[in-house]
Symmetry: C2
Subunit: 365 residues, 2 copies
Amino acid sequence: MERRKFIKTAGVGAAGTVAATTLAMPAIAQSQPKIRWRITSSFPKSLDTIYGGGETFAKAISEMTDGNFTAQVFAAGEIVPGLEAANAVTNGTVEACHTCSYYYVGKDPTFALGSVVPFGLNTRHLNAWLRTGGNDLLDEFYAQHNFIGLPCGGTGAQMGGWWRKEINSLDDLKGVKMRIAGLAGQTMAKLGVVPQQIAGGDIYPSLEKGVIDAAEWIGPYDDHKLGFYQVAKNYMYPGWWEGSLNVHLFVNKTKWDELPAGYKAAAKGAAAIANETMLAKYDAQNPKALREIVAAGVKLKPFPRDVMEAAYKASQEIYADLYTKNPAFKKIHENQVAFRNEEVLWFRVAELPFDSFMAQMQSRG
Amino acid sequence: MERRKFIKTAGVGAAGTVAATTLAMPAIAQSQPKIRWRITSSFPKSLDTIYGGGETFAKAISEMTDGNFTAQVFAAGEIVPGLEAANAVTNGTVEACHTCSYYYVGKDPTFALGSVVPFGLNTRHLNAWLRTGGNDLLDEFYAQHNFIGLPCGGTGAQMGGWWRKEINSLDDLKGVKMRIAGLAGQTMAKLGVVPQQIAGGDIYPSLEKGVIDAAEWIGPYDDHKLGFYQVAKNYMYPGWWEGSLNVHLFVNKTKWDELPAGYKAAAKGAAAIANETMLAKYDAQNPKALREIVAAGVKLKPFPRDVMEAAYKASQEIYADLYTKNPAFKKIHENQVAFRNEEVLWFRVAELPFDSFMAQMQSRG
């Protein structure tokens, strides 16, 4: 600053402390405005870990901004039904929602790629893909629906569901009525399963009464809570349609663009905390629940090899078909598959041999 | 508030706008004070991914606080040598350091438990343990050294190092001079290896001249950068002494306690971002580097079964011995092992069968 100008400015300051103070206020107000968001969750409060991801985000963002930027989480159904959460963000009913992208495959199958698809990425691979370009590809797609997505939670690999009768071969799948949705349901249909769409709260009575023969949900911690072990005695693995699950915070694009830069950064940090916390909780809580499920007389059973191979082949046919119809799906899925192939190659060298050896040592006791 | 009191207070405000404004300022100043940290890194800038974890933290914390809380990262050697980073935090030379806890096993073997130990937790398990009580146990221990730890990066499972001659059985380890430190070096010593302490920059020439016969470093991305493939042609796996690696941000306890609550929350968010980003980058970058290493004529070789079993046994002996001498190590390691055993059990059901099937499909092409 020129000396003359400095003196002049300093003079104003010295003569006008009140004015200077008043001038300083808007800058502060601008960077830390009071912002209140409503986050509609796709989950009920009873599923504390997955629902809790929204709460973890809300707590962190408030703490980071000294309570200036707060978010209130509403359980599924309080504002809109769980499976309409993204629509409420698109049309601005709420600023954000905590949901799974694949709930919206009915609008466009491309949504599945933000969560997980059959024989897709595992959790490490999905997290790496999302953070090295994958989420940017998703955001390009989500822009058509007027929101952006922040990865905000994960479950790890899921289980292959609850089956009333034993599945020992591909033939045993024929005619089985199973509660399973989306691309997983389409894949199962190719194997002879009759997929059923049933809301979370109705699964238990449907399975109990034999209206359905099988149902998939999440993994031991949540499945144990819902009590499925009481009405179906075969718990299959792995959930090849959910080798991972990413949960997103979708934020209305206008509301996101309006945020000051500092709040955007804080939201990303809060989402990262929620992401790590949810996965850590699932990983820490699943083993005990699994022990309790087994103690209740449930048989843990791997899917037979012919089922795994037929399902893999069926999923490839579904992707090939989607490629001819849906350029967005093709673009993002091809990117994911190329990434996955590289990751699986590397994990065959470092991670899998380590994990396999540790599993052997553990089974030996 | 009583009506009488309210009127009185309001009166002060109405009559004294200047005073009210002046009174409001300290509250804002208190919650967003200007803070400048120096973070000394244990890593050179050339190892961009692991060093970059400190930079990612610094960028995020500054963005979250509108530039009011900033941190400058200094490469190893700029303020103190890389392996003295924690000491500089203990004595308050710097506010924080970005380092690996196990670099300080010379002070106390308990430090190893903050990074990884031979046949310890894999990355998912370590992240889950740290976030569900493990890091609190570490903080109790770190308090003796006047700092707290924020998990701030990871590498995933590492490789088993570069070997000039082929290792086909346990006998081949006898007399091998290997650059390997800490508990891993002690384990190797029980197998007949002669562990050597050599600084990062001296490994390549030592391996080239045959001063050492083997050296371990990190994984394909970093190892490729350092060019080890030019002077040793056997690249072993898995790095059973580093089935994961957690990198910490250690913060001087007084400096941490002085932070306003909002800055503590922001620091946790910035560390979570750094944690996810570093792992994602390693996962995304390792496959290409591995391809280049193999293309340069390097043999990828699994450790022979007898080496793995003998190493596992040797590590258990080391832990049993430490238990008799070091209550802090015993307390935290027992907690880790109990956690690991539960995790490995659960991963045998959901994660491993999924990953193994995907690996089979990938190897089939």
